[in-house]
Amino acid sequence: MADKLLELLQQIVNGLSQGAIYALIALGYTMVFGVLRFINFAHGDVYMLGAFVGFYLGPKALRLFSEGPSYPGAALVLLLAMALCAIIGIVIERLCYRPLRERPKLTVLITAIGVSLFLENAGQYVFGADPKSFPEVITDRALEIPESWGKISGLTITVSQVLVFGVTLFLMFGLSHIVRKTKLGMAMRALSFNPVAAQLMGINVDVVISFTFGLGSALAGAAGILTSIQQPSIDPLMGVNAGLKAFVAAVLGGIGNLQGAALGGLLIGLVEALVVGYVNPTYRDPIVFGVLILILLFKPTGLLGASEREKV
């Protein structure tokens, strides 16, 4: 009986560390949706680019500190990936979405799908389609849980899992601070609340939207690095599935709602881990999409989202 409980706990630990990644990506979806009311399909691919930034610059960054894996090196890799992804996100918005801002939503949606496909396929062309192994930026090992904690000592919790979870929490609090306490954050909230009124109050919409894209893409880049620390095999199509799952997470939590995205990400991670552990790994994706469809059917605003009435 206790073994079963232990197994359940193990699945929950695994699910939460995967869910943290989904939550980071989902935040980007939700923020962009908040200010622009559209889903940035290319977001998952920015996450992939984050992982590849780490792949190419990681060894160089690590060498600045010591020969092997080190925490300052890992932090530098993370920051580099976040910065570069922020730039990529801003450039994508500037080139592809800004010219279409007044056009029908469908046009922007199709463009976003185009950008996503372009990044995936250009990625295959530039990086090669075969999986690459991510450099070891930290030494991963299982944490030792003292025997005195009883049965729980049988759990396997790795350093990377703790790190992923911790960094994710830190980034989320940082984001929450930016959105609540800074002027740009206030402008973001104003824009999401009422774009026309925000503009009338003198908010520079272009700047705020660029900032939102930068922020969301930086989080996706961080997620790319964190996921590669856990599972060091990366490839140009890794963003497709993760992006879709994170999108499901954003919808589950209520799109446009930051806490919702975080909650949704963790829940999706948990659902996945439990399906893999107790049902059948091949049912993982269908069940996650099934959750999405059920949510949209019965509570389209998501768990924490506010409903929005359409005005004629």
Binding site: F38, I39, C96, P99, L100, R103, P104, K105, L106, T107, V108, L109, I110, T111, I113, G114, V115, S116, L117, F118, E120, N121, A122, Q124, Y125, V240, L244, F247, V248, V251, N280, T282, Y283, D285, P286, F289, G290, L292, I293, L296, L297, P300, E310, V312
Partner: protein, 332 residues
């Protein structure tokens, strides 16, 4: 109008029959039958026309956005293959008997796909735009997932052993029927409802149009044709695999509809032809040794070109290549 389009339909079917006869070398044995490669591309064109024209009813005329067309195609391909594999010789082994079974199988494939379309259509009542795109994509994954887990359908191994029933005649005759049905439907009084839903859903509803019914009908019909296309595909390639009906296949069809111009059946047919030939041309280009290496590499990866095409098209000409031209002139 109706009489004329019926005439076109009959002409198209007769043309398909004659072409089929010529291609098989029956009428003029001195003309060598087309080589297998060109034949393959031709059948591909016919199947893509059925897929794209069907999807155009959903994405173009009704203004919804489905990203899961390959899922319906998979449903049709597997359902029809199951029937011909299980009951292929139930009526005997004569040509007539097996063709009857084949047509029944196509019909059943279309029917099962239509049922799937009904299931997808129901959430579409509440969702639009981005959400709908994701839900249809999700359904595509779910259909794929169910097949991958169904041992009777070959699961991850794929399903093979179908007899090659699909001929040039059946492909293009059915493509002509698809075009005929969609064009006459959209141009009928009843079918104007599709356009009304697209142009302004709230206004349409206020005018007493049952928008729900039209949206579901569009999904069901689009899925039905995708199912038929799937059946034709399965009985041409004689082997199907769940991964062949993934998101990328759906994107292929969506690109055809967008390139052709959403809501223009003629444009979509042209786009289907172009985009079926394009990968073959690119393959040819990638073999020309005089070209620089990087260009040949890009030509090998058609999706880079597709995606750039999508972005540039949306930025410069969102109505598609033929969006302004329609099959018939506008009445004054």
């Amino acid at each position: 109008m109706a009489a004329r389009s019926k005439l076109y339909l009959i002409l198209a079917v007769v043309a398909a029959a004659i072409a089929s006869h010529v291609l098989s070398g029956g009428a003029a044995p001195e003309i060598p039958a087309l080589n297998a490669y060109y034949y393959d591309v031709l059948i591909g064109i016919g199947i893509n026309i059925i897929l794209a024209v069907g999807l155009n009813l959903v994405n173009g005329y009704t203004g919804q956005f489905s990203l899961g067309h390959a899922g319906f195609m998979a449903a049709g391909a597997y359902a029809s293959s199951w029937l011909t594999l299980s009951y292929g010789y139930a009526l005997g082994s004569s040509g007539f008997a097996t063709t009857t079974i084949f047509l029944l199988a196509l019909l059943m494939g279309g029917g099962i796909a239509a049922l799937a379309g009904l299931i997808v259509g129901v959430p579409s009542l509440r969702l639009k735009g981005d959400y709908l795109a994701i839900v249809t994509l999700g359904f595509n994954e779910i259909i794929k997932g169910v097949i991958q887990n169904c041992d009777a359908l070959g699961a991850q191994r794929g399903l093979g052993g179908m007899v090659q029933h699909t001929t040039f005649f059946w492909t293009f005759a059915l493509a002509a029927v698809t075009v005929y049905v969609v064009v006459s439907l959209v141009n009928s009084t009843y079918g104007r409802g599709f356009l009304a839903v697209r142009d302004d859903e709230i206004a349409a509803e206020a005018m007493g149009i049952n928008t729900t019914k039209y949206k579901v009908l569009a999904f069901v019909l689009g899925a039905f044709f995708a199912g038929i296309a799937g059946g034709l595909y399965a009985h041409f390639k004689q082997f199907i695999h769940p991964e062949g009906f993934n998101f990328m296949k759906s994107v292929d069809v969506v690109v055809m509809v967008i390139l052709g111009g959403m809501g223009s059946t003629a444009g979509v047919c042209v786009a289907a032809v172009l985009l079926t030939i394009l990968p073959e041309l690119l393959r040819y280009v990638s073999r020309i040794e005089a070209l620089p290496e990087w260009l040949r590499h890009i030509a090998e990866n058609r999706m880079i070109i597709y995606s750039l095409l999508l972005i540039i098209l949306m930025l410069t000409r969102p109505q598609g290549l033929f969006g302004a031209v329609n099959l018939r002139k506008k009445k004054a």
